[in-house]
């Protein structure tokens, strides 16, 4: 996963950002670099790229006191650059507490001095700064462009043992218009073992994903943070997949609701169907048992056990779960979660007892609701019994009592194939901080995308659509991936 290294550039003791290295373009973002460094540390960053722009321009270190102060008041691992020219300079920077020194101009103008540092301090502590403009190395605070080509420069130093390189693309630096992914990819292709730190142009999470896909491990960001273009987080890329969950309705140990799969020996066998969905890439399964007998717990436990023996993905069991004993029987036989519905409405305290005993993570609050005269109302008994209870109030209470996930089925949408209840979903998603599963209404590929993008759902559930073979789990996931939604493939 690509890591972001925050940058602080200093002019006259203040944090600034330039555009394409132009000193007249400097924007001051904060007058207190030490405080900014502390904020980066508090947000979880471990690294800091500190640049003395005054030093770079004047050719000698100016802002060493700021380095000292940041080192003494944070635990950040800092690389320092800008105006580091002599052996004494390097010693002063390390004495001030920097973990690494970045040398750019000096490496271009005085290779012997720079190689001396590399030999003395080692490849872990000396970073080569390769600042590139029109394919050539720029120096002196980028006020001059040398005649040395980037790859000649890198060839030379990689051969001498350089391991860490910060490469700044000056044309894109400070523009927020996107980094030169191709440039960095070319560098990595040429020097596979190099620890390349990209720099310049980062303006969005999209850019970050492009860099990550190209195999770039770290990038420096300044302006993108200062202008809140990306979250203040060293690893802001989202990697948790949105889940696709087939739902199986079960009665007396058999799947009901027509299943028209071909190639299944027995379309009504829940175990066989579970295995098929698991093999096809389902992220989770939900079993809803609609059996109404006294022997229910026993038959359901047996089913759970058979499913757990056959698949190695998580699954939830629901339908009439009403006691601690029920939950215990399901979990002991291999279920990962149980969903509670009517029993929780009739006796809300059961949610607390279940969550206390087994943990919130295995208690799913299942809610069926209908939109009536502009208000969402909760229904029980598979949607047959109105309660008059407000959907949102009930979900809030259920989560407060310890439910670790919400499975919301809109009765207005269920079976219509017209899409999920995205407005209500989005409202639930904003209201609670546990994952939400969208249910009811899936008919087209775009409905899944809308459930995640508009409905802000964490998972989407469908039954008939998958059972009838109208689309496969893979179809849904491929479509979502093409539309920029993270899925497990």
């Amino acid at each position: 996963m690509i890591e972001i290294i925050p940058a602080i550039d200093i002019i006259d003791g203040k944090c600034v950002r330039l555009t394409r290295g132009d000193f007249t373009s400097a924007i001051e973002y904060n007058s207190d670099p030490v405080r900014v460094a502390r904020e980066f540390e508090a947000a979880g960053f471990k690294r800091l790229h500190l640049v003395d722009l005054d030093g770079a321009r004047k050719g000698s270190i100016i802002n060493l006191d700021i380095l000292e102060e940041i080192c003494s008041s944070t635990g950040l691992i800092i690389d320092f650059g800008g105006g580091v020219k002599t052996d004494t300079d390097v010693e002063r920077v390390f004495n001030a507490g920097a973990a690494m020194v970045t040398g750019g101009s000096v490496a271009q103008k005085n290779p012997d001095v720079f190689l001396g540092w590399l030999n003395k301090y080692g490849q872990g502590k000396i970073i080569l700064g390769a600042d590139v403009k029109d394919g050539n190395i720029a120096v002196g605070g980028w006020l001059e462009t040398s005649s040395t080509g980037l790859f000649d420069f890198l060839d030379y130093y990689v051969e001498k043992g350089i391991k860490k390189v910060i490469c700044t693309d000056i044309q894109s630096d400070g523009t927020l218009e996107g980094p030169s992914v191709k440039l960095y990819k070319d560098i990595l292709d040429r020097y596979p073992g190099l620890e390349l730190i990209a720099s310049g142009g980062l303006g969005s999470l999209y850019d970050l994903r492009e860099l990550n896909n190209a195999g770039i491990k770290s990038i420096i960001s300044g302006k993108a943070f200062y202008e809140s273009r990306i979250p203040l987080n060293p690893y802001p890329l989202e990697t948790l997949a949105r889940r696709i969950i087939p739902c199986l309705d079960v009665k007396d140990g058999r799947v009901v609701k027509g299943v028209k799969f071909i190639r299944l020996r027995d379309a009504g066998d829940p175990v066989e169907l579970a295995k098929r969905y698991s093999d096809e890439g389902a992220d989770e399964l939900v079993f809803l048992d609609i059996t109404a007998t006294h022997e229910k717990r026993k038959t359901l436990s047996e089913l759970v056990r058979k499913v757990a023996e056959a698949v190695n993905i998580p699954f939830t069991v629901g339908g009439g779960i009403s006691s601690i004993e029920d939950v215990n029987a399901m979990l002991a036989n291999g279920a990962d979660k149980v969903s509670v519905n009517s029993a929780a409405v009739r006796n809300p305290a059961i949610i607390n007892s279940m969550a206390d005993k087994f943990g919130s993570q295995c208690i799913v609050l299942a809610v069926d609701a209908r939109l009536e005269n502009g208000a969402w109302k909760v229904y029980l008994n598979g949607g047959r019994l109105p309660t008059g209870i407000d959907l949102f109030e009930w979900i809030r209470e259920g989560v407060d009592r310890g439910a670790g996930e919400v499975l919301f089925t809109s009765m207005n949408h269920d079976g219509t194939r017209n899409g999920f209840a995205n407005d209500a979903l989005a409202h639930i998603g904003e209201m609670v901080d546990v994952p939400v599963i969208a249910s009811g209404g899936a008919g087209k590929l775009s409905h899944f995308k809308d459930a995640f993008k508009k409905g802000k759902a964490d998972a989407a559930l469908a039954a008939g659509l998958f059972h009838y073979g109208e689309m496969s789990i893979a179809d849904v996931k491929n479509y979502l991936a093409q539309n920029g939604i993270i899925v497990r493939t």
């Binding site: 979880g44 023996e309 190695n312 215990n328 036989n333 919130s360 670790g404 901080d433 994952p435």
Partner: protein
């Protein structure tokens, strides 16, 4: 080979046991100190919360036994978390096999996130014996509200509004935050790597 799955109370131990069986082993679920100590491999799953789990572990005297084990031990989910010194969850003192403190995801001060971290997430920066021949970026199934921060024994990372430890390895102690028994074929491979140590 004798495999002990430590059973100290509620939770889904069935799936872990079943995965071992599918790999050709016959594990026992037990809280018996002698059986655990004599086993070739010990699996230490944990479901539920750190407070009640540590309470039960102490009641059964396992708080002394587990850290002194010399055969390979695999902590899964809460089992891995309990290997640290302490947990934010109920401010609980844990087994102290590894330095550090298990931290509440809600304490991360950057943005709003759903807790628990539930579902399939990638693991990367893979090292060590447990994750042998697993591909970088493979997805695993996670369900947890607390996390082990990145540390010197981390052998896999994952990301949820920041970096955290997905797996650890310290001498004979191994751990994974995800559920290998619920993570498809790749998860089973990790269990197999452990059982083959």
């Amino acid at each position: 080979m004798n495999i002990a799955i430590i059973d100290f109370g509620a939770g889904n131990l069935f799936s872990v046991a079943n995965a071992c069986k599918n790999l050709g082993y016959n594990p026992v679920l037990t809280a018996d100190e002698k059986i655990i100590s004599r086993s070739d491999k010990v699996i230490f799953p944990g479901v539920g919360n750190a407070i009640s789990a540590m309470k039960r572990i102490r009641q059964k005297g396992l708080d002394k036994v587990i850290p002194s084990l010399e055969q390979p031990v695999l902590g899964i989910c809460l089992g891995m978390q309990l290997m640290l010194e302490a947990s934010d969850e109920g401010n609980t003192v844990c087994l102290g096999i590894l330095k550090g403190r298990v931290t509440d995801f809600r304490r991360r001060n950057t943005g709003n996130i759903k807790v628990p971290h539930m579902g399939w997430n990638i693991i990367d920066n893979l090292e060590g014996r447990l994750l042998k021949s697993i591909y970088e970026g493979t997805s695993m199934y996670f369900v947890h509200s607390y996390y082990v921060p990145d540390n010197e024994y981390t052998v896999a990372n994952s990301y949820y509004n920041g970096i955290f430890t997905a797996a650890i390895e310290k001498n004979n102690f191994f751990g994974c935050q995800f559920h290998p028994e619920k993570s498809g074929e790749a998860g089973i491979k990790i269990l197999n790597n452990f059982l083959k140590l």
